[in-house]
């Protein structure tokens, strides 16, 4: 507990410093030839998407552990990660169309990555809805959804990808010139740190909740 209360501010501090530095690095990076300024969204959009997928993975693994072991900690991790999937997914789904508006001339394209991000986001929104509205005992049910949600990530991506693709490929990152690559990795690292900090903070809330439940139980005894 003690180490965590120090860890979160430290993580946040490092992330904050990195975020402060990021705009200057992005500004210093050269313009992409066809997309120009709008390409700068990419430095936030892609790391958010990475964090979103990572968080879905975390939620799925934690849900599987909860199903197998019934450990309340795993459930706490799962619900925290699911919330963060929704938060970062929202960022991806809003910044994506803003970029598309400029690059493709339309707000929404039924392209593979956008669509699969939307489907993934919907799965985790339904996860939160289930937890909110299913009543007592919904943790176990939500864990099932979490496992299916994670297993679905490659399927959704794969099926939508075959269905249609006009999104820039993943190898865009590899083909970036160094001047663009450095700020990109910088931003990715900053987002990952921010994610870790938010996840730990959210877990802390869940920990306090458990404490509260335990106190209620104690009061009844």
């Amino acid at each position: 507990m003690q180490s965590r209360s120090i860890l979160v501010p430290v993580l946040l501090f490092v992330a904050a410093v990195m975020f402060l530095r990021a705009p200057f690095m992005i500004d210093a990076a050269p313009y992409e030839s066809t997309m120009g300024l709008i390409q700068r969204i990419f430095y936030f959009h892609v790391p958010s998407a990475m964090v979103m997928f990572l968080s879905a993975l975390v939620c799925g693994v934690a849900s599987a552990v909860y199903l197998a072991k019934r450990s309340p900690r795993a459930d706490a991790v799962a619900v925290s990660a699911a919330e963060l999937v929704v938060v970062f997914g929202l960022i991806v789904l809003v910044t994506g169309p803003i970029w598309a508006r400029k690059a493709w001339g339309i707000w929404w394209q039924w392209d593979a990555r956008l669509t699969s991000a939307l489907v993934l986001w919907l799965i985790f929104v339904s996860y939160l809805l289930l937890r909110r509205f299913a009543g007592a005992g919904s943790e176990m049910l939500a864990a099932a959804v979490g496992v299916f949600g994670m297993a679905n990530v490659p399927f959704v991506y794969w099926s939508v990808n075959v269905w249609r693709t006009i999104h820039p490929n993943t190898n865009v990152v590899a083909s970036l010139i160094p001047e663009m690559r450095v700020p990109f990795y910088w931003c990715t690292a900053a987002f990952l740190l921010l994610y870790a900090a938010l996840l730990l903070t959210r877990l802390r809330l869940e920990g306090s909740r458990m404490q509260l439940e335990a106190a209620y139980a104690e009061l009844e005894d």
């Binding site: 199903l67 197998a68 019934r70 489907v119 919907l122 799965i123 339904s126 809805l129 289930l130 509205f133 299913a134 009543g135 005992g137 919904s138 176990m140 049910l141 864990a143 099932a144 959804v145 496992v147 299916f148 949600g149 297993a151 679905n152 399927f155 959704v156 794969w158 099926s159 939508v160 075959v162 269905w163």
Partner: protein
């Protein structure tokens, strides 16, 4: 008592109940045909259906009717808490899951046996072009949908607001199945059919089914433990 025996006992019980009232078959069938009709208003422009409309409408009506059938099937098990009685009996949990799945699957296939010709008739879809492939797509797609649906409907049986939560959970998770089903069927129905593409989607559906059913079998026990 063998596993398959148990599965058949449970599935046959559902079929006997359904054969007696035919409530689900009639209502689900009528519902899916109405869905076809409603969607045709938006996909038929000046008397001509949009490209691939037939495939899309067919799968949408299957998904909608399937949700209805799932909800109602488990409502029957809820009425006198009989799902609990099944769980109390000394049979393996996966046998209960598969038994219920077989019942739902057969019901949905019966509905599809009627809706598919209706769609074929109304949209001039060439059902006879690759009948085996079409049946394969329908069966595997329905199996995956019913597989996930049976798990979710069973686990929601005790939950509040289960009627809304079932489609809310089911539709996003079955997106890959629906895409594969629609695209595969569309490849068969297209003006220039591409059967190789349809076959590729079919094998994808088989793969999805394998993964979804394995997961569902694993998850069913712990989820119904409560």
């Amino acid at each position: 008592m063998g596993f398959l025996n148990t599965v058949w006992t449970i599935a046959r019980k559902d079929l006997v109940i359904e054969a007696r009232s035919r409530e689900l078959a009639y209502t689900t069938l009528f519902f899916s045909v109405s869905v076809v009709l409603v969607f045709s208003f938006s996909f038929v422009v000046e008397g001509v259906a949009l490209t691939d409309a037939a495939a899309g409408i067919l799968w949408v009506s299957i998904a909608f009717a399937g949700t209805l059938a799932l909800g109602r099937t488990f409502e029957r098990e809820r009425q006198s808490d009989t799902l609990k009685a099944l769980l109390l009996s000394p049979v393996e949990r996966p046998a209960i899951y598969i038994g219920k799945l077989v019942g739902v699957l057969l019901l949905m296939l019966v509905v599809e046996a009627v809706v598919t010709p209706v769609v074929g008739l109304l949209f001039q879809a060439p059902l006879d072009r690759a009948p085996l492939l079409l049946v394969g797509l329908l069966v595997t797609g329905t199996l995956g949908f019913a597989g996930v649906g049976t798990l979710f409907a069973a686990m929601l049986i005790r939950a509040q607001s289960r009627d809304v939560l079932l489609p809310v959970l089911l539709y996003p998770i079955t997106v890959p199945l629906v895409i594969a089903g629609v695209r595969g069927t569309a490849a068969i129905f297209a003006a220039e059919p591409n059967l190789a593409v349809a076959q590729a989607w079919l094998s994808m559906l088989v793969f999805f089914d394998a993964v979804f059913l394995t997961l569902a079998l694993w998850v069913f026990g712990p989820v119904m433990g409560e």
